[in-house]
């Protein structure tokens, strides 16, 4: 085994090359090494979805992934949703619908919602509820979250 590994990956559209400790979690790499604190650390055990990122287009709990497995992959975090044009429509919708209270779960929610919108063409309102099962919020009661996502995807409530 080696104590460090070199990884090459794309982070929010930018190529990165890093040498990291083997066994560093993806979440700790983002937050502690790259100072990208939009991705939240909550349960740390894959239950809550606050650390959701997109890996090759799939939503993943970054607390349950090793940074070494970023090698060769395309990573998008909440910081990557904002472009020169401003916030992502999903972010705007969460604000417009007041889908936020304390806000801690929101980066993960929005990443998962973005993933759902991008990958499910025939999503129903019930389907989006199922699609957000992996993201836990202790404040909002979810209704406004579902409405915000439904609005962006363009489905009836």
């Amino acid at each position: 085994m080696s104590a460090t590994v070199e990884i090459n990956f794309t982070l929010n559209g930018r190529k990165r090359q890093l040498t990291i400790d083997a066994g560093l979690s993806a979440l700790n790499l983002l937050r502690d090494k790259l100072d990208m604190t939009g991705t939240k650390y909550a349960c740390g055990e894959g239950e809550c979805g606050a650390c959701t990122i997109l890996v090759d287009g799939l939503s993943v709990n970054s607390c349950l992934m090793y940074a070494a497995d970023f090698d060769g992959r395309d990573i998008v975090t909440i910081e990557g949703l904002r472009s020169d044009k401003g916030f992502d429509p999903m972010q705007d919708a969460f604000v417009e619908h007041g889908a936020i209270q304390c806000g801690f779960c929101m980066p993960g929610m929005i990443m998962q919602a973005r993933h759902l919108a991008d990958t499910n063409k025939d999503l129903t309102y019930d389907g989006l509820k199922r699609g957000l099962e992996g993201n836990v919020c202790r404040c909002t009661g979810y209704k406004k979250v579902f409405d915000a996502v439904a609005d962006v995807i363009g489905i009836a409530k």
């Binding site: 085994m1 083997a22 894959g46 799939l58 349950l64 090793y66 998962q112």
Partner: protein, 265 residues
């Protein structure tokens, strides 16, 4: 989490060598069970052998009516694969109902089968469809593979490479899921193939997945929900926990079996 050495082999054979040299090592596939277990300090392997960089372990193919799924194929890939949907739609539906979307993105079929959690979904599919587990050493019939609670026929340095499922004439999986974990409180996989009907139950047995011979015999004669409606599985040997007691699980087995047969058509 306890400290460990991290390995990233490039082939399954290299991974097997590392396992052989380190008796306390564990394989890391998707990590959706192992990593939380390590974080809770319920597991403390000396070495982690990450299969993430072993390229040839993932993928889905179909040949002559047999579906072959690489061990590192995530549940999300099985769920959305047109090849699986065509060959064994019940298997695609099963994969789409595992855990939550994050788990399905990363969790793998090989990891699930190797872990043999008594409430996991895939073991029921393996037994009901008469699957074959391919490893770095040999091929193992599913009937000989699941040997008890979290126990399998795998040797310490043996790694699952793929799983083959013969397509069934009819098949369906019905699960009464724990709404928080989405694990099966009771899950029943029913399959009708050339060799007869198989009924495999997960989530209920103290020793993991098991078959219900009486239901199989009844369904061989008459493949209808009515044929199993009157068959009760004894509560003896079933799990009791905060989610459901053994009697309730026994009741659910008949209910889930009826629904699975009806869904299989």
């Amino acid at each position: 989490m306890y400290p460990f050495n991290y390995h990233q082999p490039k082939s399954a054979e290299e991974a097997a060598h590392i396992l052989a040299a380190n008796p306390e090592a564990k394989i890391l596939a998707g990590g959706q069970t192992l990593l939380p277990t390590m974080k809770q300090r319920l597991a403390g392997p000396s070495d982690l052998v990450d299969l993430g960089a072993v390229g040839d372990l993932a993928g889905i193919s179909e040949k002559g009516g047999t579906l072959r799924i690489g061990a590192m194929t995530p549940h999300a890939e099985v769920a959305k694969s047109p090849v699986v949907a065509k060959a064994i739609p019940a298997l695609a539906a099963l994969a789409g109902g595992i855990g939550d979307p994050h788990v399905r993105s990363v969790g793998t079929i090989g990891g699930s089968v190797a872990n043999n959690d008594p409430a996991a979904d895939y073991p029921a599919a393996c037994i009901a469809l008469g699957a074959t587990i391919h490893t770095t050493n040999r091929d193992i019939a599913a009937d000989d593979f699941f040997t008890g609670l979290f126990q399998t026929a795998l040797a310490d340095d043996e790694i699952i490479t793929a799983i083959s499922f013969p397509a069934a004439k009819k098949a369906a999986y019905t699960k009464f899921r724990n709404p928080a974990s989405r694990y099966a409180i009771v899950g029943v996989f029913v399959a009708q193939a050339a060799g007869g009907v198989r009924v495999a139950v997960t989530g209920a047995g103290e020793n993991g997945v098991f078959r219900v011979g009486e239901m199989e015999t009844a369904l061989d004669k008459n493949f209808s929900a009515d044929a199993v409606a009157g068959i009760a599985v004894p509560a003896d040997g079933l799990n009791s926990d905060i989610h459901a007691n053994a009697e309730y699980r026994a009741h659910l087995i008949t209910v889930m079996a009826k629904r699975a047969v009806a869904a299989a058509g």
